[in-house]
Symmetry: C2
Subunit: 214 residues, 2 copies
Protein backbone atom coordinates (compact mmCIF):
# COMPACT_ATOMS: atom_id res chain seq x y z
CA UNK A 1 0.00 0.00 0.00
CA UNK A 2 1.69 3.16 -1.15
CA UNK A 3 0.21 6.62 -1.02
CA UNK A 4 0.21 6.68 -4.79
CA UNK A 5 -2.85 4.97 -6.14
CA UNK A 6 -1.79 1.89 -8.04
CA UNK A 7 -1.87 2.79 -11.76
CA UNK A 8 -5.42 2.43 -13.05
CA UNK A 9 -6.13 2.15 -16.74
CA UNK A 10 -6.25 5.63 -18.17
CA UNK A 11 -8.59 4.77 -21.03
CA UNK A 12 -6.12 6.08 -23.56
CA UNK A 13 -6.60 5.94 -27.28
CA UNK A 14 -4.48 7.12 -30.12
CA UNK A 15 -7.40 9.29 -31.11
CA UNK A 16 -7.73 10.80 -27.67
CA UNK A 17 -4.02 11.52 -27.55
CA UNK A 18 -4.19 13.36 -30.86
CA UNK A 19 -7.24 15.25 -29.63
CA UNK A 20 -5.52 16.50 -26.53
CA UNK A 21 -2.33 17.24 -28.47
CA UNK A 22 -4.34 19.41 -30.85
CA UNK A 23 -5.90 21.27 -27.94
CA UNK A 24 -2.50 21.75 -26.38
CA UNK A 25 -0.97 23.07 -29.60
CA UNK A 26 -3.91 25.39 -30.15
CA UNK A 27 -3.35 26.84 -26.72
CA UNK A 28 0.42 26.84 -26.28
CA UNK A 29 1.92 26.33 -29.73
CA UNK A 30 3.93 23.45 -31.18
CA UNK A 31 7.17 24.51 -29.60
CA UNK A 32 5.71 24.07 -26.13
CA UNK A 33 4.47 20.56 -26.80
CA UNK A 34 6.62 17.87 -25.22
CA UNK A 35 5.80 14.26 -24.61
CA UNK A 36 6.03 14.84 -20.88
CA UNK A 37 3.65 17.78 -20.92
CA UNK A 38 1.25 15.97 -23.20
CA UNK A 39 1.39 13.04 -20.83
CA UNK A 40 0.66 15.36 -17.93
CA UNK A 41 -2.36 16.74 -19.78
CA UNK A 42 -3.61 13.16 -20.02
CA UNK A 43 -2.67 12.25 -16.44
CA UNK A 44 -0.13 9.79 -17.69
CA UNK A 45 3.63 9.47 -17.86
CA UNK A 46 5.37 10.38 -21.09
CA UNK A 47 6.48 6.89 -21.97
CA UNK A 48 2.92 5.65 -21.86
CA UNK A 49 2.18 7.60 -25.01
CA UNK A 50 4.68 5.52 -26.92
CA UNK A 51 2.35 2.58 -26.78
CA UNK A 52 -0.02 4.45 -29.05
CA UNK A 53 2.32 6.63 -31.10
CA UNK A 54 5.72 5.43 -32.33
CA UNK A 55 7.38 8.82 -32.07
CA UNK A 56 6.74 12.49 -31.57
CA UNK A 57 7.11 13.00 -35.29
CA UNK A 58 4.35 10.50 -35.95
CA UNK A 59 2.21 12.47 -33.55
CA UNK A 60 2.89 15.59 -35.60
CA UNK A 61 1.87 13.76 -38.73
CA UNK A 62 -1.35 12.75 -37.10
CA UNK A 63 -2.02 16.38 -36.22
CA UNK A 64 -1.47 17.48 -39.79
CA UNK A 65 -3.65 14.69 -41.01
CA UNK A 66 -6.43 15.77 -38.73
CA UNK A 67 -6.59 19.15 -40.47
CA UNK A 68 -7.28 17.61 -43.85
CA UNK A 69 -10.38 15.80 -42.65
CA UNK A 70 -12.95 18.57 -43.19
CA UNK A 71 -11.91 18.89 -46.81
CA UNK A 72 -13.51 15.57 -47.53
CA UNK A 73 -16.89 17.22 -47.15
CA UNK A 74 -16.38 19.66 -49.98
CA UNK A 75 -17.95 18.03 -53.00
CA UNK A 76 -19.05 19.65 -56.23
CA UNK A 77 -22.71 20.51 -56.44
CA UNK A 78 -24.65 19.58 -59.56
CA UNK A 79 -23.87 21.96 -62.37
CA UNK A 80 -21.26 23.83 -60.37
CA UNK A 81 -18.28 24.95 -62.38
CA UNK A 82 -14.95 23.48 -61.34
CA UNK A 83 -13.39 26.80 -60.43
CA UNK A 84 -16.20 27.58 -58.02
CA UNK A 85 -15.85 24.22 -56.36
CA UNK A 86 -12.08 24.68 -56.19
CA UNK A 87 -12.61 28.04 -54.56
CA UNK A 88 -14.80 26.43 -51.91
CA UNK A 89 -12.20 23.75 -51.35
CA UNK A 90 -9.50 26.39 -50.93
CA UNK A 91 -11.60 28.34 -48.44
CA UNK A 92 -12.36 25.20 -46.46
CA UNK A 93 -8.69 24.36 -46.24
CA UNK A 94 -7.86 27.88 -45.21
CA UNK A 95 -10.58 27.90 -42.57
CA UNK A 96 -9.24 24.73 -41.03
CA UNK A 97 -5.68 26.04 -41.02
CA UNK A 98 -6.79 29.28 -39.41
CA UNK A 99 -8.75 27.36 -36.79
CA UNK A 100 -5.52 25.69 -35.70
CA UNK A 101 -2.73 28.11 -36.54
CA UNK A 102 -0.37 26.33 -34.18
CA UNK A 103 -0.35 23.34 -36.51
CA UNK A 104 0.46 25.50 -39.52
CA UNK A 105 4.24 25.18 -39.26
CA UNK A 106 3.78 21.43 -39.17
CA UNK A 107 1.41 21.33 -42.10
CA UNK A 108 3.83 23.42 -44.10
CA UNK A 109 6.85 21.22 -43.60
CA UNK A 110 5.34 17.78 -43.84
CA UNK A 111 4.33 15.90 -46.97
CA UNK A 112 0.91 14.39 -47.26
CA UNK A 113 1.22 10.65 -46.99
CA UNK A 114 -1.73 9.32 -45.04
CA UNK A 115 -4.32 7.16 -46.69
CA UNK A 116 -7.14 9.53 -45.81
CA UNK A 117 -5.38 12.63 -47.13
CA UNK A 118 -4.43 10.87 -50.33
CA UNK A 119 -8.04 9.87 -50.66
CA UNK A 120 -9.00 13.53 -50.66
CA UNK A 121 -6.44 14.22 -53.34
CA UNK A 122 -7.77 11.39 -55.47
CA UNK A 123 -11.34 12.62 -55.08
CA UNK A 124 -10.33 16.14 -56.04
CA UNK A 125 -8.49 14.88 -59.09
CA UNK A 126 -11.62 12.98 -60.07
CA UNK A 127 -13.60 16.22 -60.09
CA UNK A 128 -11.05 18.02 -62.20
CA UNK A 129 -10.66 15.17 -64.67
CA UNK A 130 -14.43 15.01 -65.03
CA UNK A 131 -14.27 18.72 -65.81
CA UNK A 132 -12.00 17.99 -68.73
CA UNK A 133 -8.47 18.18 -67.35
CA UNK A 134 -5.89 15.51 -68.02
CA UNK A 135 -4.57 13.81 -64.90
CA UNK A 136 -1.26 15.65 -64.97
CA UNK A 137 -2.88 19.04 -65.48
CA UNK A 138 -5.43 18.25 -62.80
CA UNK A 139 -2.66 17.61 -60.31
CA UNK A 140 -0.96 20.82 -61.43
CA UNK A 141 -4.11 22.79 -60.77
CA UNK A 142 -4.87 21.17 -57.44
CA UNK A 143 -1.29 21.46 -56.26
CA UNK A 144 -1.18 25.08 -57.30
CA UNK A 145 -4.27 26.06 -55.38
CA UNK A 146 -3.45 24.06 -52.25
CA UNK A 147 0.12 25.29 -51.97
CA UNK A 148 -1.15 28.78 -52.62
CA UNK A 149 -3.55 28.52 -49.72
CA UNK A 150 -0.89 27.09 -47.47
CA UNK A 151 1.64 29.77 -48.34
CA UNK A 152 -0.86 32.54 -47.99
CA UNK A 153 -2.24 31.36 -44.68
CA UNK A 154 1.24 30.70 -43.39
CA UNK A 155 2.33 34.25 -44.06
CA UNK A 156 -0.78 35.49 -42.38
CA UNK A 157 -1.08 33.36 -39.28
CA UNK A 158 1.76 30.92 -39.01
CA UNK A 159 4.28 32.31 -36.61
CA UNK A 160 7.14 30.58 -34.96
CA UNK A 161 6.57 29.63 -31.33
CA UNK A 162 3.62 30.94 -29.41
CA UNK A 163 4.09 34.51 -30.57
CA UNK A 164 0.82 35.87 -31.82
CA UNK A 165 1.76 39.01 -33.65
CA UNK A 166 0.12 40.10 -36.83
CA UNK A 167 2.00 42.03 -39.47
CA UNK A 168 0.52 45.22 -38.19
CA UNK A 169 1.36 44.52 -34.59
CA UNK A 170 4.98 43.70 -35.16
CA UNK A 171 5.76 46.31 -37.77
CA UNK A 172 3.42 49.14 -37.02
CA UNK A 173 5.73 50.78 -34.56
CA UNK A 174 9.01 50.26 -36.35
CA UNK A 175 8.23 51.92 -39.64
CA UNK A 176 8.19 55.68 -40.00
CA UNK A 177 9.93 57.56 -42.77
CA UNK A 178 12.23 54.73 -43.74
CA UNK A 179 9.55 52.64 -45.42
CA UNK A 180 6.84 55.13 -46.41
CA UNK A 181 4.90 52.93 -48.82
CA UNK A 182 4.96 49.91 -46.56
CA UNK A 183 3.91 51.98 -43.59
CA UNK A 184 1.04 53.51 -45.54
CA UNK A 185 -0.14 50.17 -46.86
CA UNK A 186 -0.14 48.67 -43.39
CA UNK A 187 -1.80 51.69 -41.82
CA UNK A 188 -4.58 51.75 -44.38
CA UNK A 189 -5.60 48.31 -43.34
CA UNK A 190 -6.06 45.62 -45.94
CA UNK A 191 -7.66 42.95 -43.85
CA UNK A 192 -6.32 39.49 -44.30
CA UNK A 193 -9.59 37.99 -45.41
CA UNK A 194 -9.93 40.49 -48.20
CA UNK A 195 -6.39 39.92 -49.30
CA UNK A 196 -6.97 36.20 -49.48
CA UNK A 197 -10.13 36.60 -51.52
CA UNK A 198 -8.37 39.00 -53.84
CA UNK A 199 -5.50 36.61 -54.38
CA UNK A 200 -7.64 33.51 -54.71
CA UNK A 201 -9.88 35.16 -57.25
CA UNK A 202 -6.89 36.23 -59.27
CA UNK A 203 -5.38 32.76 -59.20
CA UNK A 204 -8.59 31.00 -60.18
CA UNK A 205 -9.16 33.48 -62.98
CA UNK A 206 -5.68 32.74 -64.26
CA UNK A 207 -6.30 29.01 -64.11
CA UNK A 208 -9.59 29.34 -65.98
CA UNK A 209 -7.93 31.43 -68.65
CA UNK A 210 -5.25 28.82 -69.06
CA UNK A 211 -7.75 25.98 -69.21
CA UNK A 212 -9.74 27.75 -71.93
CA UNK A 213 -6.74 28.88 -73.92
CA UNK A 214 -4.54 25.78 -73.69
Amino acid sequence: MSDRRARPRAGLTRERIVDVALEFVDEHGVAALSMRKLGAALDVEAMTLYHYVPSKDALFEALVDRLTVPMGGVRPEPGERWERWLGRLARAYRAELLAHPGVLPLAATRPVTSRVALGHVEAALRVLVDAGFGPVRALDVLNTVMTFVLGHTLAEAGRTPGAEMSDVDSLGELDATEFPLLARALAEGARHGERFEFALTALLAGLVADAVGG
Copy 2:
Protein backbone atom coordinates in the same frame (compact mmCIF):
# COMPACT_ATOMS: atom_id res chain seq x y z
CA MET B 1 51.25 25.66 -19.66
CA SER B 2 48.67 23.05 -20.41
CA ASP B 3 48.79 20.70 -23.31
CA ARG B 4 45.83 22.50 -24.75
CA ARG B 5 47.03 25.50 -26.67
CA ALA B 6 45.90 28.59 -24.81
CA ARG B 7 42.78 29.83 -26.54
CA PRO B 8 43.84 31.86 -29.57
CA ARG B 9 41.48 34.31 -31.20
CA ALA B 10 39.36 32.40 -33.66
CA GLY B 11 38.73 35.36 -35.93
CA LEU B 12 35.00 34.92 -35.57
CA THR B 13 32.44 37.24 -37.08
CA ARG B 14 28.71 37.20 -37.01
CA GLU B 15 28.85 37.02 -40.77
CA ARG B 16 31.20 34.06 -40.75
CA ILE B 17 29.04 32.26 -38.23
CA VAL B 18 25.99 32.71 -40.44
CA ASP B 19 27.99 31.54 -43.43
CA VAL B 20 29.04 28.33 -41.78
CA ALA B 21 25.56 27.80 -40.34
CA LEU B 22 24.12 28.07 -43.85
CA GLU B 23 26.63 25.54 -45.15
CA PHE B 24 25.81 23.23 -42.29
CA VAL B 25 22.07 23.48 -42.87
CA ASP B 26 22.51 22.95 -46.59
CA GLU B 27 24.37 19.77 -45.86
CA HIS B 28 22.64 18.30 -42.81
CA GLY B 29 19.31 20.11 -42.48
CA VAL B 30 18.02 22.47 -39.80
CA ALA B 31 17.12 19.75 -37.39
CA ALA B 32 20.74 18.66 -37.13
CA LEU B 33 22.04 22.14 -36.38
CA SER B 34 22.94 22.64 -32.75
CA MET B 35 25.02 25.36 -31.19
CA ARG B 36 27.62 22.81 -30.14
CA LYS B 37 27.93 21.32 -33.59
CA LEU B 38 28.07 24.74 -35.19
CA GLY B 39 30.77 25.66 -32.71
CA ALA B 40 32.67 22.51 -33.62
CA ALA B 41 32.45 23.43 -37.29
CA LEU B 42 34.09 26.73 -36.37
CA ASP B 43 36.63 25.18 -33.97
CA VAL B 44 35.05 26.94 -31.06
CA GLU B 45 32.96 26.09 -28.04
CA ALA B 46 29.22 26.57 -28.27
CA MET B 47 29.03 29.43 -25.80
CA THR B 48 31.48 31.48 -27.81
CA LEU B 49 28.84 31.91 -30.47
CA TYR B 50 26.65 33.79 -28.03
CA HIS B 51 28.98 36.76 -28.21
CA TYR B 52 27.89 37.26 -31.79
CA VAL B 53 24.35 35.93 -31.82
CA PRO B 54 21.92 36.44 -28.93
CA SER B 55 20.15 33.12 -29.41
CA LYS B 56 19.69 30.24 -31.76
CA ASP B 57 16.46 31.79 -32.92
CA ALA B 58 18.28 34.96 -33.90
CA LEU B 59 20.68 32.81 -35.88
CA PHE B 60 17.72 31.32 -37.71
CA GLU B 61 16.44 34.79 -38.50
CA ALA B 62 19.82 35.70 -39.90
CA LEU B 63 19.69 32.63 -42.13
CA VAL B 64 16.28 33.58 -43.44
CA ASP B 65 17.45 37.10 -43.98
CA ARG B 66 20.36 35.91 -45.98
CA LEU B 67 18.04 34.32 -48.52
CA THR B 68 16.33 37.59 -49.29
CA VAL B 69 19.55 39.32 -50.29
CA PRO B 70 19.65 38.32 -53.96
CA MET B 71 16.19 39.75 -54.49
CA GLY B 72 17.61 43.22 -54.09
CA GLY B 73 19.24 42.84 -57.49
CA VAL B 74 15.98 42.35 -59.34
CA ARG B 75 15.02 45.81 -60.60
CA PRO B 76 12.62 46.69 -63.38
CA GLU B 77 14.20 47.32 -66.74
CA PRO B 78 13.18 50.41 -68.71
CA GLY B 79 9.82 49.89 -70.34
CA GLU B 80 9.32 46.49 -68.72
CA ARG B 81 5.77 45.77 -67.69
CA TRP B 82 5.21 45.24 -63.98
CA GLU B 83 3.98 41.69 -64.32
CA ARG B 84 7.12 40.65 -66.16
CA TRP B 85 9.29 42.21 -63.47
CA LEU B 86 7.20 40.55 -60.80
CA GLY B 87 7.68 37.22 -62.54
CA ARG B 88 11.43 37.72 -62.49
CA LEU B 89 11.29 38.61 -58.82
CA ALA B 90 9.28 35.48 -58.08
CA ARG B 91 11.72 33.30 -59.98
CA ALA B 92 14.67 34.84 -58.20
CA TYR B 93 13.09 34.17 -54.84
CA ARG B 94 12.30 30.63 -55.82
CA ALA B 95 15.81 30.03 -57.10
CA GLU B 96 17.28 31.19 -53.81
CA LEU B 97 14.91 29.03 -51.80
CA LEU B 98 15.71 26.02 -53.93
CA ALA B 99 19.42 26.68 -53.54
CA HIS B 100 19.01 26.32 -49.77
CA PRO B 101 16.06 24.02 -49.22
CA GLY B 102 17.14 23.32 -45.66
CA VAL B 103 16.30 26.90 -44.74
CA LEU B 104 12.84 26.64 -46.28
CA PRO B 105 11.06 25.53 -43.10
CA LEU B 106 12.59 28.50 -41.36
CA ALA B 107 11.68 30.96 -44.07
CA ALA B 108 8.14 29.67 -44.01
CA THR B 109 7.57 30.12 -40.31
CA ARG B 110 9.33 33.39 -39.62
CA PRO B 111 8.08 36.90 -40.37
CA VAL B 112 10.24 39.32 -42.27
CA THR B 113 11.48 41.96 -39.87
CA SER B 114 15.03 42.86 -40.76
CA ARG B 115 15.87 46.27 -42.12
CA VAL B 116 17.35 44.86 -45.30
CA ALA B 117 14.37 42.63 -46.08
CA LEU B 118 11.95 45.44 -45.40
CA GLY B 119 14.00 47.56 -47.74
CA HIS B 120 13.36 45.05 -50.50
CA VAL B 121 9.66 45.18 -49.76
CA GLU B 122 9.66 48.95 -49.89
CA ALA B 123 11.54 48.96 -53.20
CA ALA B 124 9.12 46.45 -54.68
CA LEU B 125 6.15 48.51 -53.53
CA ARG B 126 7.74 51.53 -55.22
CA VAL B 127 7.76 49.70 -58.53
CA LEU B 128 4.15 48.65 -58.24
CA VAL B 129 2.97 52.07 -57.14
CA ASP B 130 4.81 53.62 -60.07
CA ALA B 131 2.92 51.15 -62.24
CA GLY B 132 -0.36 52.57 -61.02
CA PHE B 133 -1.29 50.53 -57.97
CA GLY B 134 -2.37 52.12 -54.72
CA PRO B 135 -0.13 51.27 -51.77
CA VAL B 136 -2.59 48.83 -50.26
CA ARG B 137 -3.19 47.03 -53.54
CA ALA B 138 0.53 47.00 -54.22
CA LEU B 139 1.13 45.20 -50.95
CA ASP B 140 -1.70 42.81 -51.77
CA VAL B 141 -0.11 41.95 -55.08
CA LEU B 142 3.40 41.60 -53.71
CA ASN B 143 2.25 39.57 -50.74
CA THR B 144 0.20 37.33 -52.99
CA VAL B 145 3.08 36.51 -55.28
CA MET B 146 5.68 36.05 -52.55
CA THR B 147 3.53 33.81 -50.40
CA PHE B 148 2.62 31.89 -53.50
CA VAL B 149 6.26 31.26 -54.30
CA LEU B 150 6.98 30.25 -50.73
CA GLY B 151 4.06 27.86 -50.55
CA HIS B 152 4.80 26.34 -53.90
CA THR B 153 8.49 25.86 -53.25
CA LEU B 154 7.78 24.53 -49.80
CA ALA B 155 5.52 21.82 -51.13
CA GLU B 156 8.13 20.94 -53.67
CA ALA B 157 11.36 20.95 -51.74
CA GLY B 158 10.77 21.79 -48.11
CA ARG B 159 10.75 18.60 -46.16
CA THR B 160 11.07 18.10 -42.46
CA PRO B 161 14.46 16.99 -41.22
CA GLY B 162 17.12 15.81 -43.61
CA ALA B 163 14.79 13.61 -45.58
CA GLU B 164 15.16 14.30 -49.25
CA MET B 165 12.24 12.60 -50.85
CA SER B 166 10.36 14.02 -53.77
CA ASP B 167 6.66 13.40 -54.21
CA VAL B 168 7.42 10.70 -56.68
CA ASP B 169 9.98 8.98 -54.53
CA SER B 170 7.80 8.80 -51.47
CA LEU B 171 4.51 7.99 -53.13
CA GLY B 172 5.47 6.15 -56.27
CA GLU B 173 5.59 2.77 -54.63
CA LEU B 174 2.58 3.03 -52.37
CA ASP B 175 -0.07 3.86 -54.91
CA ALA B 176 -1.54 1.17 -57.15
CA THR B 177 -5.23 0.76 -57.75
CA GLU B 178 -6.31 2.70 -54.72
CA PHE B 179 -5.47 6.13 -56.16
CA PRO B 180 -5.53 5.63 -59.94
CA LEU B 181 -5.60 9.27 -61.00
CA LEU B 182 -2.91 10.34 -58.55
CA ALA B 183 -0.71 7.43 -59.56
CA ARG B 184 -1.14 8.25 -63.23
CA ALA B 185 -0.43 11.95 -62.74
CA LEU B 186 2.72 11.17 -60.80
CA ALA B 187 3.85 8.51 -63.22
CA GLU B 188 3.40 10.75 -66.24
CA GLY B 189 5.91 13.15 -64.81
CA ALA B 190 5.00 16.80 -64.45
CA ARG B 191 8.35 18.24 -63.59
CA HIS B 192 8.40 20.73 -60.77
CA GLY B 193 9.84 23.56 -62.79
CA GLU B 194 7.07 23.31 -65.34
CA ARG B 195 4.46 23.20 -62.64
CA PHE B 196 5.84 26.33 -61.09
CA GLU B 197 5.89 28.18 -64.38
CA PHE B 198 2.37 27.06 -65.10
CA ALA B 199 1.14 28.27 -61.75
CA LEU B 200 3.07 31.51 -61.77
CA THR B 201 1.82 32.36 -65.22
CA ALA B 202 -1.74 31.70 -64.16
CA LEU B 203 -1.39 33.83 -61.06
CA LEU B 204 0.19 36.77 -62.87
CA ALA B 205 -2.46 36.59 -65.57
CA GLY B 206 -5.12 36.73 -62.90
CA LEU B 207 -3.46 39.72 -61.27
CA VAL B 208 -3.19 41.56 -64.58
CA ALA B 209 -6.84 40.92 -65.33
CA ASP B 210 -7.78 42.27 -61.93
CA ALA B 211 -5.61 45.35 -62.35
CA VAL B 212 -7.16 46.12 -65.73
CA GLY B 213 -10.71 45.42 -64.64
CA GLY B 214 -10.70 47.03 -61.20
